[in-house]
Each structure stands twice: as C-alpha cells, then as structure tokens.
Symmetry: C2
C-alpha cells in the first residue's frame, strides 16, 4: 500500500488556511476592481517557445517542462540520440521530447495575450490576474515550487498616473490587510546615469548585479563584490548611494542626488523629474521610500521600479526579509513577440509570502462569514423534516446543513463546534410533536425552544 | 520574431468571458457555502505515484507528465537505455525521467488529502474544490486539455441525506443559472442485480461498457455491441431497461423494475429501496429522472450515480449532448492510499461545459457590478486633481479610474465606452476654475455640471 505524499515545494490548503487565502484574495480583487482593472486568466501550460529566453539562463532552468504525449522518443533526431545515460547531450534532446511548460510568471503570458488579442483590446489595457505559477527552484522558507502571483498591469500607457495608481493599490491593499509595509521606489534612469562613471554597459550590468545583493550582504559586502568584479571606480558611487539612503526624507535624498557632482547628466535629470512627478501624485507618502540601491533583477524594466517589504513590528524579524511584491515600468515587453513600442507598467503581489507574513504575526482572523447552523436529529425519521427546515433557512441566507444521520447528540455537537457553527438546532421527539426545535447558541451556550416558523427571525449569524 | 500561440486544447480568458466565469463560479460557491461545504485546494502537481493506476489504462495515458529537473537522463538504468529512437522501451523509461504529473481530476487528490489529514479533519468532511485539471486528450468541441472542475464531496457519511444534499445543490445552482437540466440518477446495486443474468463479473463489466455507449450509439447500437461481445443473453435485459426508461414517471419505472421477474434478488431490492429513500428527501423532483441505463464509467462508484445534461429548449441541439456534471457514491475511495472503509459521495460541475452551454443560448448577461466611472482630463495639469476625485469616489464604493494622460476627449470617451463605464467625468478649464466636473451619463447621454463635493451623491452605478 503506497503512502501518499506531496511533491516537494507544493502544499495542500485545508479549509482554515483557504478561508484566509480567500480573504486576502478578496481584499486584493476589491481594490483592483475599484480601480477599473479587469480580470484575465491564461493557461497554466504555455508553449516552451513562449517561455524560454525570457527569464535569463537561470530562469530557463527553473521552468517545469511537460513531456510530450505518446511515443515521444520517436521524434528525436538520430544525431541527438544519446549513446549512454552519461551522455550530456540531453540539453539538445529536451526540446525534442517537450514542447510545453508551466508558466513561470504572469508577465510573459500577459505580453503574449496582448500581442494575440491586440485588435480586440481597449488600450490602455488594465488587467488583473491572480493565478499560480511554477518554478523548479530549491524549496525553502517562503519559497515554493507552486505559488500564486496577483498582478496588475497597465499596458499602453506612458503616463506617470499609471505608476501612481499601482502604488496606491499597494497602499490600499496593505492598509486593508492591516500590515505595515515599506514601498521602495527607484528609477532605472537614475541607475543608468551611473553608466559614464563605470565605463560601459558591461560594467554597469555587473554593478547592478552587485548592488542587487545589498539586502543579503550589506554595504561592505557590496564593496567587496565590486572589488572582486574589477569595479573599483564604482565604490565611491556606491558609498554615496548608501549615504543618500541613510537620509531621512525623500526631498533630502533627491537634493543630495541633484548635487552629486560626479554624475550630473540629462538621464539623471529625467529620472529625478519622473520620480518627483510620481510623488506629487501620491497623497500619502509615509510608507513610500526612495531607495536608490533598488535595482530589481529583471532586464525588461526601463523606468520606475518598485519593491514592497514588510516593516511591521509585529512580524517576527525572520519573516521581514524578502519582498512581498514588486514591479516596474517596461517599455518594450511585447517586442519579443513582434509588437513594438507598447509601454506598460505593472506590479505583482506575492500571495503566499503575504500570507506567511500575516500568519507569522497572527494578523489574520477568520471572519464570521463562514459560521452556520447544524440541524441535529435524534432519530433518522426526522431527517426529512430537518432537510425541509434547512432549505427554508438557506432561502433566508443562513448557512445551514443537516447532520447526515442520527448518531448520539454529542457526536453531532462536536461536529458543529469543530466547524465553527454558531447554532445547533435539535430535533427530538417532543420537538417534532410540537413542531419546534431546540435552538442552542454554541457561542453563548444559551438554549431556547422555537417554533419552526420563527427560526429564521431568531438566528443571526453576524 | 516568433509568432506567439497557445498549446492546443488550452484557452485564454479575456475580461468579457472572465466576468461570466466569475459569475458562474460565484453562484456555485454561494450554494456550496450555504450547505456548509468548506473550501480546499490541492497542488496542480502531484506525484505520478498518486495519480497512476486510478483512472484505468486510458486515463494513465492522458496524464500530463512533468520532466524531472536537471540531468534527468543520468538516472536512467542502463538496461532501459534505448539503442535507437525506434525502440519502444520508452514506456519503461518514462517513470525514470518523470516523477510528477498534473492532476487529472479533483477526486483522487481529495482521497490523498483526506488520508494525509485524517487526524485534523472533522468527519463527515464536506469540501468544495474549484480548480483546473489537465488531460492530454484529443481536443474537440467541449473538450479541452486544461479545464475546470467544481466538486463537492461528503466524506465519512453513509446517509442518503448526503446524496439528497448533492442533488439539491445541482438543482439550486442550475435554477440560479436559469438553465433547465435533467439530473439522471441510477444505483449501482440495480445494475449489479443483473450479474446473475449475465454469467460473471467479466460479462457484467462488458455489459457496463456497452450500455455506457447508449448516448452515442442508441438502443440498437448497444444491441449490436452486445452481440459482438458475446453477450446475447443480455439483450432481453437491455431491451427491458430501455422499455422502462420510456415510462413517464419514476414510480412507474420502479414498479416495472420490481416486477421484472428475471432479476429479482436482494441486491435489486436494496438498490430500489435506496433510490426511493433518496427521492423521498427531495421536494422538487420534476428535473430528477431515474435512468436505469446510466452506468458511469468509473469503477469506484458503489451506490447512487448521477449525471446532469441540459434539456433546455433554448440551447442548440448540438450543445445538449454530453454531461455537464456527474458523480456518485464511493465506499472505498481512500482504500488505495491505505485508509479503508471511508464512505463518501460527491458530484462534479463541469465549469467549461456549463459555460459553453449557457453561452450557446446567450443565457449569460454580464451584470452591472463592473460598470464604473472614467475621469477625463483636458490638460495634464488636471490629473492630480482627477486622482484626488477618483480616490474620494472609490471610498464611496464607486469603481473609478483616471484616464492616464490627456489625449483628445473622443479617445478618452471611446475608452470609457469600450470598458462599459456608466459615467465620464470631464475636467476642462472652466470646470477646474469652478471646482466642478461635467458628468456625462454614457448610457442615457445626459450631462450635468456638478460640484466636486456633490459627485458621489449623484453617481449611482446599479
């Protein structure tokens, strides 16, 4: 007999955690919809041609690939046929036995969707999408192989109003979830302004990779990294970025940047101007932080970049590492699929990390929406009457079920309590004769005998 | 430049169809919750060990298998290493390069979940689960490779109250969707009663396979099938089943069955009694039909079986073929995972076929919940004020967005209309000076100038 198990990095969600997941999803969806975002869903399976080459070499390796159906081996070209298992030719063979894979994020599918439906969509196209994604990464705390992203994107808009709307959505969602966060922003143009200082694009790319590690290795760590990468002349710039980051207000940071004489150029001016424009549109800025060290790994970003981290005191420190959301402006995402010059901006909410964060601080209470009524029969003969009563209560929007059968009352009440029912309605012999039910409030313990017709007036679940 | 495409048998869902999917899902979920079902979700990826051997040989072949990560070829045993692509040894090789697959339905994952969580669950365990499943079947009308099932199951209950509850859920969901359906029921014991007539279990199994084809090949077709399968002595029984099926009322059918002298036995008596018990619990029976020919392929059913088809006149005939739901009682589903004697009963709603059916008859109207307000600025300088107004309207639960930018008004109004906005608020020079907005009702065409503070009182979306 096989002992069942789950694939590493995947999880079951039982009723208690599902109630919480649904609550968080409903908060997000309500905010997204209130801003005019519309839902789309794309298939879990995508052609590997669509996915590959979009996430860098490392991303490609993390794609889950699906074996072709039927006699998949017969399609392998003879020259690729390996002679032994030790042969490493499998990299050439994989594309011949696998055409499809599981989506890695919701951004590339969005780009594909926009290109394939460009004639039907109204632009700017504002969509939300809340679906699982898969990555064959090594599972660890807060990192799953199957997890949910909740994305909002505005495709076809160049306006900073769109950036502001996304930041507001972050603010509204986390305010409604009662979680304190810091929304870090930066601008790719500000980082691009360092290009002349560093030499060329190659050095600049290495600089991005190095400063992207700041969260993990700290300021000194980045300095060492820069030394190792032969980027000694970037060290003063890096230290200046850190000094600026230590300033209190965004205004002070922008002033310091404007007076950072070594990199004054048109690109910096533009980047600063766009950040100011964005901030001007945001009424509440207390949780928005300009962080000039924020690079965001993905190469497709071209403007503002965002990252959300929790800085809530109630959240244990080891749950405050890592981002729970991020995104930015991309001005050529659909280019790879043949549709050029479509600007856009989008952010993602990491549902699983948000839930882990909220759970770590017990910030999620299951609300009352799930509490209902259990009808308990002392004899099987009363079940038909019980289902009739249940039907009438449900018409009045009361969650109501009949215990299927008539075991001992204790067993039935245990079930009602374990499900969080607020009431048990008990039908015994005398109740049946009088057309009454004993109504037991499971929260207060109070009992009262009520006429069947009066039940719905007395049962209040909220 | 690659032209993007979707894998065969998969679909994108744009905003218009998503609104309809969400509506149908919300109807189901409301009904499920009102009956005390609780949500669970299981991972898309399951170990192949969990899935294989549960759906018959054909089902096994339809499983999507995921290639192991990394150097998967190195794990192949030398004796299985094929010498050429023509070699058909791949069936032995597949298990060595693929450990995981995509779930095929929601029933086997439920059984696995129940076994793995048996100590934490309250029984009877009533769960609902609405998630996609995958089958590598040949795509055709109404058949997709990625589609959704919406399942409700009651695990740990022997009572016919549970069967009645599931039939009621079918009735309530389709009544709320305003779709006429027929809920066919039958009982495995009634079919089992034919066993002595047919010879042995093998003949009985062949009989089931033959009568399962009735929907496609008709009464005569089944007769031919029985002849070919050397089941000549089953033909009178089959013709009698068809005669009974032609009777009008369930009572007449049961009476005819009770007087069907060739197969009177204890099993038949039990089956008939359980069907009667179920019917007694159902107040509305006009769309419940006893269909003695209903076999349901899956071998794990042991009691009542159900199948739902649409018989709505408004649905075109070619959309009325095929079931849009089905299920039944199983009394040993978890046995294969080592937990014996757990009875249960469950039914599935086929979301995609239900949607196809409703769409074919234009029975789905998008409701007003999505209609909102677009704020149009004649100058970029007004955008900041516009975002402020939008924020205040959203606080009053109005869906509101600001057009990102200030292009020509016609472009902005086209966008509002294409999104189904009910109002456009226009901010021009004079409006800004007077702290007013021109409010255009896009449905009636009416316009009125309103003070910013008065907007939320005048905007009614429903």
């Amino acid at each position: 007999m096989e002992k069942p198990s789950l694939p590493s990095g995947t999880r079951d969600f039982g009723p208690e955690i599902m109630k919480k997941r649904k609550f968080v999803l409903s908060v997000m969806e309500r905010v997204f919809r209130s801003h005019g975002f519309l839902p789309i869903e794309t298939p879990s399976l995508e052609n590997l041609k669509t996915l590959q080459g979009k996430y860098g070499d490392e991303g490609d390796q993390l794609l889950f690939k699906v074996l072709n159906s039927g006699e998949y081996f017969s399609k392998i070209k003879p020259e690729n046929w390996p002679v032994s298992p030790a042969d490493t030719i499998y990299k050439d063979m994989t594309p011949q036995i696998s055409d499809r894979g599981l989506r890695y994020d919701l951004t590339v599918p969005l780009a594909r969707f926009v290109v394939m439906n460009r004639d039907k969509l109204a632009f700017p196209f504002k969509r939300y999408q809340m679906q699982p994604v898969w990555r064959a990464d090594r599972p660890q705390k807060g990192r799953y192989r199957e997890f949910w992203q909740c994305d909002i994107d505005i495709v076809g808009s160049n306006s900073v109003v769109s950036e502001a709307e996304l930041v507001e959505c972050y603010q509204e969602v986390f305010a409604q979830l009662n979680l304190e966060v810091q929304i870090k922003i930066n601008h790719r143009l500000i980082l691009d302004a360092f290009l002349p200082l560093l030499g060329g694009r190659e050095q600049w790319n290495a600089f991005m990779v190095a400063i992207d590690k700041f969260d993990k290795i700290g300021q000194e760590g980045v300095n060492n990294e820069l030394l190792q990468r032969d980027l000694k002349n970037a060290i003063p710039a890096w230290n200046t970025l850190c000094e600026i980051a230590a300033l209190n207000s965004t205004e002070d940071k922008l002033l310091a940047l404007e007076s950072f004489s070594e990199i004054q150029n048109e690109i910096l001016t533009q980047g600063i101007a766009q950040v100011k424009e964005l901030l001007d549109l945001l009424p509440r800025q207390q949780n928005v932080v300009l962080d000039l060290r924020l690079a965001r790994g993905l190469s497709y970003y071209t403007g503002c970049v965002f990252e959300v981290v929790s800085n809530d005191d109630r959240v244990p420190a080891d749950f405050r590492i890592g981002s729970i959301g991020g995104g930015g402006r991309y001005n050529n995402l659909t280019g790879v699929f043949g549709l050029k010059d479509v600007p856009g901006v989008g952010v993602s909410f990491g549902l699983d990390r948000i839930l882990d964060t909220l759970e770590s601080a017990n910030l999620l209470e299951v609300n009352n929406d799930w509490a209902g009524v259990l009808i308990c029969c002392m004899e099987e003969a009363y079940l038909s009457q019980a289902t009739q009563i249940a039907r009438e209560l449900r018409i009045k929007n009361v969650i109501c079920e009949v215990y299927p059968g008539a075991p001992k009352l204790k067993k039935q009440l245990d079930y009602a309590n374990s499900k969080g029912c607020k009431y048990a309605l008990i039908l015994g012999e005398s109740e049946m004769q009088q057309q009454h039910a004993m109504v037991k409030n499971l929260v207060t313990g109070e009992q009262q005998l009520l006429d069947w017709n009066a039940l719905s007036d007395h049962i209040t679940l909220n």
